[in-house]
Symmetry: C2
Subunit: 353 residues, 2 copies
């Protein structure tokens, strides 16, 4: 039997220390313990299991709430001593999850955990937050700074956003999706804030110089990777009025599996995936990562997906163009069946977690 000659290890996100399956099972242990249901006089939660946001009805308003952190992208910020981008990201990761349920963001609170507070770092983060808020049309409503040198290495940046549904709009949760619907993809600006634990491992393994452009690129690798997450708020907001928008997906951690958070028993066929930006191919080659792993870890060039009836495609694209997303393109369609499919690469995903 021939010995494989020095096989390149094929990296996975789990190998970098983040096993999404084990997170899911620990989390379900936590949720199993939380049995209490508050009386209706204390707000009425609207069940939306697995969705991008939690919902609660208070008086005449339905509110959506999301919470997320920038994750280990902050370590790249620390190495490059550039914090403005991740400041923008902490807004983006939260408001994009609100956009994915059709909620308009009302505001954000941020949480900074740090070893020691640096005025320069905080100033840069503030500039980034301001930029993110402008892009999303949201206000900063508060925040928390915890100096916890024994707990944290460097700095962690998280936030929580609350959103609402103006003018009696309903949350967009995918229940209207049906076979024949078109999937429109809005491009990402790069890796956004996902997969960085793996990327950083690969950068270290391959001794990549962050100050030098990768082959074929113009900007230094570090700056390219740090590019802030695109904010899809105005695009989603432009589509949440008409009842013909059937669903949204924010392609964040979990990649195209995020489509499975929309529940109807259909199949998502991604048969027109756009040309994958070369940054992703370069990351893939660094770790000999499989296509299956790439599409469930990174956004692969598409950060947000809109599901619409085919009869409303042109109108939807016009609305998107007016909201700054003229680059949205059809990337696939909905069929009878199940799972997410990328036929050109033979990929199939059946569960979200």
């Amino acid at each position: 039997m021939p010995e494989p000659s020095n096989p390149a290890p094929s990296w996975t996100y789990a190998m970098s220390g983040v096993d999404r399956a084990s997170v899911g099972s620990a989390l379900s242990e936590l949720l199993r313990q939380v049995r209490y249901r508050a009386p209706p006089s204390h707000g009425r939660p609207i069940p939306a299991p697995g969705h991008y946001a939690g919902f609660v009805r208070i008086g005449r308003e339905t509110l959506a709430i999301t919470t997320d952190t920038v994750g280990t992208k902050v370590e790249l910020a620390r190495r490059l001593e550039r914090w403005e981008e991740v400041g923008e990201d902490v807004v983006a990761v939260n408001v994009n999850d609100l956009a994915a349920v059709g909620a308009r963001p009302a505001g954000l609170v941020d949480t900074i955990l740090c070893e020691a507070p640096s005025p320069e770092v905080f100033r840069s983060i503030g500039r980034g937050i301001d930029r993110g808020l402008r892009s999303a049309g949201a206000s900063l409503l508060g925040g928390e700074t915890a100096v916890v040198p024994s707990l944290i290495r460097g700095l962690d940046l998280g936030g929580t956003a609350i959103g609402f549904f103006p003018g009696g709009r309903r949350p967009v949760v995918g229940d209207r999706i049906r076979p024949g619907d078109v999937l429109l993809g809005i491009p990402s600006t790069g890796l956004h804030a996902n997969g960085f634990t793996l990327v950083r491992r690969l950068l270290d393994e391959r001794s990549i110089d962050l100050a030098t452009p990768r082959p074929g690129a113009e900007r230094p690798v570090g700056a390219e990777l740090l590019t802030p997450t695109r904010i899809y708020t105005r695009a989603a907001d432009a589509l949440t009025g008409p009842a013909t928008t059937h669903g949204f997906a924010h392609v964040s951690g979990g990649g195209v599996r995020n489509l499975l958070r929309l529940h109807p028993p259909v199949s998502y066929v991604l048969d027109h995936w756009p040309k994958i930006p070369s940054l992703f191919g370069w990351v893939q080659s660094l770790g000999s990562i499989s296509d299956q792993e790439m599409f469930q870890t990174f956004n692969m060039g598409v950060g947000f997906v809109v599901v619409v009836a085919p009869t409303r495609l042109s109108e939807t694209r016009r609305r998107l163009a007016r909201a700054g997303a003229s680059d949205a393109v059809p990337i696939g369609h909905v069929e009878r069946g199940s799972g997410v499919h990328v036929p050109a690469l033979g990929l199939r995903y059946d569960t979200y977690a």
Copy 2:
């Protein structure tokens, strides 16, 4: 000049690595950059600088939002391998900040950052969260679990709570406070979740065995310190209807300085502070900590303060008793002047930060 003979160092919170002044100045750098104000169609923030919660008006509802972490109390949980208490704390620290503005909690989202997700730890945290939610009458609306082994040592536990003002109630922000008002204090259950970075340093310095009771106590030190934060939600909720409740203070990080977050130009005279629980005296002796430092770092036995007109004192105490706080006692009063004063100990505090 006589040499002091081996003077005991007098510990401060800043010496343990947490300098509240430097946090304040870094934070103001961040906030100075956040200039954007969203249009009214995106929710109308209600300014409440320095307060316990942020406010935003959405449609006909005013919402309050707070975000806070358990802080380094989680490290004690880790050493003792007991997580239920801090699970309850993450609810408490957030809903108590809502209680301090008179908001009823609608729900909470939690954020766990960890090196690796442990089903047993998550199960215990879930049990604690459930207990906290029951006590507060709030629902879990979502959460985030981030596995970030390169960022975190162990586990961090934070959350965000949203609250509202049922039946047209107004936020309680202290604007009705006037000289002559009475300060009622509701006892704490121990250290709550504040000052643990300092306490842990002292426990280590003095090689305190967590499994043994301190002198005069019955429970092991570790278990005593881990006691969950008391939840004041029902107490505050019972008082937010009548317009005669003039203010609330949650005595958290910053100790009695928290009264200064209520803005009217008055003086808070704490001339009936109840007997300080012996746990605080023991902590103080471990670090030769000054009284001034103790009252601005720990709750010293009083976790929540209610400011009421003297004519409504009996009714307020009756309402508190029905809401589970029959142990509320007068601890002082409001005078013309400024600052927080503890006359018996000659203490005076003039600013919150």
